[in-house]
């Protein structure tokens, strides 16, 4: 009994998702898998889920690499399934054997909830649109389809691509359209091999490679984009070898970070103030603390001092510890400090926070900082740690940087960037001396915080760090 190739197309794993990322394959080509055996981990916008094999058979092909974002409905893995045991409707399939790679799934497709719908939904309005434009640009892809890829000819006639030529817009998906635009590929000139002539990512890439080889042999003459197209791809043929740029899909933590930054930067009007201070006294204090018994077993850092100073100053300047609640049109004043610490983690930027930091002594604060950063670097920060922050610190000093204009963690009114501690010539007791100096940069949300309050807050922190004894006048 001849084996049948069965394609598994990426289903909609959540409710209404359009794409997912292949995180890792648990099988390789040639592996024998059982029904429901986990073959891959897939990350959707909602969750990382395990994908169980829908067939028992041998893995014939993995269509996508780990790390690839795949559209729902795209084939991701093919199986060699023993000829028997295939459900009804088997006979037309099995005659075609490997050549039917695309065909049977296309037929099965509407059976599979999730990826029938997307294509059909876009299909119907498109079909209506085609009527009006019926005779404008006929005979587009007939040549392309024959010339381009023999492998998909089985698909092409069935879905009547030639007849669908005069579409206003060729059928594709937004990410693919964008890809085509970025690559300067003229979509109407591309032969779609997807369901019902849908132009896929592969089609665009194939077209790009082809036009790179033949230059403008086949593409639409007089298309306005053509000239630019050539210009854009100054060295198009060498895309594979010696790339001049690398394109990384925007996803995961990067995507999340970007969204948060944009949301923050464009809703909260940021003001940043700078203060450069002599922290020699604080550094001396730190050295004494390190050798004291109470702090013997804890790594106490400048960050811990700054964090403590911030909490003390915040008590005197509570406006900085508030939140703009746009939905309820209220300003929420926090009577606690959940102190966020920006941390570079393997997964990207995270801002876990220390709950009720105002209640912690210096020693406890140092412990909390240590625990928090270790957890973050191990990638084990829990969702609870990341939510509910009220103010943040970012320690750019560890990178040898002096100052910056930090962007607020969304929902918070202020963020303090601490620069690196440097030995610099500085005025000391009316003389020039080599002192340890640090710059503080404070960004605040100008909707909530006026310049006066922000300035006082920053000055308070500066006072504490340059002369720790002044705390006595503040608490």
């Amino acid at each position: 009994m001849s084996p049948v190739i069965k394609e598994f197309r990426l289903p909609d794993l959540g409710e209404g998702l359009t794409e997912s990322e292949i995180v890792v394959w648990h099988v390789a080509v040639g592996d024998t898998v059982e029904l429901n055996q986990v073959i891959a981990d897939v990350e959707t916008a909602k969750a990382v889920v395990e994908l169980p094999s829908p067939y028992a058979g041998v893995v014939a092909k993995l269509h996508e690499q780990p790390g690839t974002v795949v559209e729902v409905g795209s084939p991701i893995v093919s199986f060699d399934v023993p000829g028997s045991g295939v459900p009804s409707g088997d006979s037309p399939d099995s005659s075609a054997d490997k050549a039917d790679d695309d065909e049977p799934p296309a037929k099965r497709e509407p059976n599979l909830v999730g990826y029938g719908a997307a294509v059909e939904k876009t299909g119907r309005p498109t079909r209506r649109a085609r009527r009006g434009a019926a005779s404008t640009v006929p005979a587009r892809p007939a040549d392309a389809s024959t010339a381009d890829d023999a492998a998909v000819t089985a698909e092409a006639p069935q879905t009547s691509v030639p007849e669908e030529a005069p579409l206003e817009r060729p059928r594709s998906t937004p990410p693919v359209r964008k890809l085509a635009r970025d690559l300067g590929i003229d979509l109407p000139a591309v032969n779609g091999t997807g369901p019902q002539g849908l132009i896929t990512r592969e089609d665009v890439l194939a077209a790009q490679q082809k036009s790179a080889q033949e230059e403008s042999a086949q593409s639409g003459t007089g298309q306005s984009g053509t000239g630019q197209q050539g210009a854009d791809r100054g060295v198009p043929a060498s895309i594979a070898a010696g790339e001049r740029e690398t394109r990384t899909p925007i996803k995961g933590v990067r995507k999340h970070t970007a969204a948060a930054m944009v949301a923050s930067a464009f809703t909260a009007p940021h003001v940043t103030e700078f203060l450069t201070i002599d922290v020699t006294a604080s550094m001396d204090l730190l050295a004494r603390l390190k050798s004291s018994r109470a702090f013997a077993d804890v790594r106490i850092t400048p960050l811990a001092l700054v964090a403590k100073a911030l909490c003390i100053a915040l008590d005197r300047n509570p406006t900085l510890n508030s939140r703009w609640d746009d939905a309820s049109q209220e300003i929420v004043q926090h009577h606690y400090v959940n102190l966020g610490i920006a941390a570079a983690t393997p997964r990207g930027l995270m801002v876990p926070n220390i709950k009720d930091a105002q209640a912690l002594g210096l020693r406890e604060l140092a412990d909390a900082l240590k625990g928090l950063t270790e957890t973050a670097r191990a990638g084990k920060t829990s969702p609870a740690d990341l939510s509910g922050g009220t103010i943040s610190i970012t320690n750019v000093g560890v990178f040898g940087i002096d100052a910056g204009t930090p962007i607020l963690n969304p929902g918070e009114a202020a963020i303090l960037a601490m620069g690196s501690v440097r030995k610099m010539p500085w005025e000391y007791q009316d003389e020039i001396a080599l002192r340890q100096v640090m710059t503080l940069s404070l960004s605040f949300d100008h909707r909530l915080v006026d310049g006066e309050q922000g300035s006082r807050f920053l000055a308070d922190i500066g006072t504490i760090l340059s002369d720790p004894g002044m705390v006595l006048t503040m608490v």
Binding site: D12, A47, L51, S88, L112, G116
Partner: protein, 381 residues
């Protein structure tokens, strides 16, 4: 009789007949309700739980394979569903939420019917009167009103059947559930409010919704309540039987809080790791409803290899039939949406159906202009 009509310390105690490690614990009040449960009956309960866990796993896999749109897993709640579901009489009527697929199994639902809704092929998977269980209610808590109304009907009929409604901890915050309890108490309707407190209303922990055990709310409505170990199938059976007996003998409604845990996601579209602690999951894994019965059976010498194999074979068979029924389910037709709107012909609806039919034909002709006979046309409609 430990009815929670008065607040006292015993209220927080769970009725438990089988401990997590599988020891049978005697209970002076509830033992009598399960005195008939012999070795064979316990084996049957065990098999039921294994089977519905298998159904759940298979359906979850089917969703991941694109064969179901969505599935709400019941993993961890097997004892609550089997214990209560197996206590019911055939003429009792169940009004459930969407997660009571184990109860539906007890009611004898056809396996394919169980998946019809989740595949998006029908608005309701089965004839409610065929198995005396209403289609799953997706609107949180609305089914409690249906159950109370049904129970008031039972009163009017002078029958002795009981309406049983299932809902979760989150639903108790809904107005519907509270209204249902008011009416149930007022009419002393034969209805059981079976709350599976699985600790999480999607991402909302139960402690945010209830500062006291949920069972404590019912006495405020004049409804006796009991908290039971929802992972103990025998205890769930016992408290449900007691409540059924009360309802059949004119004692009115009962509220049961089965304290359990949703081991999986809220639905296949949810990621619980984003909001709950792995340690919590571990703690509850140690209280697994199936392994404790397995331990008890084993200690009594009732879990031989043959018994285990037979149970596994049954579960595998059910899973295979479930899968086959799912993937070979015929596609719904576009005009099916008109079928179950009115019980009798309706000219207004018929007109709509006619114009919709014409609308669909329009696409057919558009397609036939373009294509030779297309085998996929039927299903692509």
């Amino acid at each position: 009789m430990p009815l929670n009509n008065e607040a006292d310390a015993t209220q927080n105690e769970l009725v438990q007949l089988i401990t997590p490690s599988g020891e049978r614990r005697s209970n002076p009040v509830y033992d009598r309700w399960v005195s008939d449960v012999d070795g064979a009956a316990l084996q049957a309960l065990y098999e039921d739980m294994v089977v519905i866990r298998r159904i759940d796993a298979e359906a979850t896999a089917l969703q991941r394979q694109g064969e179901l749109a969505l599935w709400p897993p019941l993993l961890g709640q097997e004892a609550a569903q089997i214990g209560s579901g197996r206590a019911l009489r055939e003429d009792d009527f169940v009004f459930s939420s969407y997660r009571e697929n184990g109860v539906a199994y007890c009611r004898g639902v056809d396996l394919t019917d169980l998946l019809r809704v989740w595949r998006g092929n029908a608005s309701a998977g089965w004839d409610p009167y065929a198995i005396n269980m209403a289609p799953p209610q997706v609107i949180i808590g609305a089914q409690t009103l249906h159950a109370t109304g049904y129970a008031m009907g039972v009163l009017a009929d002078g029958a002795d059947s009981v309406a049983v409604t299932y809902f979760g901890d989150g639903a108790t915050s809904q107005g519907d559930v509270n209204e249902a309890m008011v009416f149930a108490a007022s009419y002393q309707a034969p209805v059981i409010f079976f709350c599976q407190n699985n600790q999480w209303a999607i991402s909302e922990p139960v402690r945010l919704q209830a500062h006291v055990p949920i069972a404590h709310r019912a006495p405020g409505f004049g409804i006796p309540s009991v908290r039971v170990d929802g992972n103990d199938v025998l205890a769930c059976l016992a408290v449900t039987r007691e409540a059924l007996d009360r309802a059949r003998t004119g004692g009115g409604p009962t509220f049961i809080e089965a304290v359990t845990y949703r081991m999986g996601p809220h639905t296949t579209a949810d990621d619980p790791t984003r909001y709950r602690d792995a340690n919590e999951l571990e703690d509850w894994a140690a209280k697994d409803p199936i392994s404790r019965v397995a331990a008890l059976l084993d200690a009594q010498g009732l879990l031989s290899a043959e018994v285990s194999d037979a149970v596994k074979a049954t579960a595998d068979d059910v899973a295979a039939r479930l899968r086959e029924g799912c993937i070979s389910m015929p596609e719904p037709q576009a005009l099916d949406v008109f079928k179950h709107v009115y019980s009798e012909p309706n000219s207004w609806l018929e007109r709509q159906q006619d114009s919709y039919e014409q609308y669909l034909t329009y696409f057919d002709s558009a397609e036939s202009v373009n294509t030779a006979p297309n085998p996929s046309r039927e299903v692509s409609r």
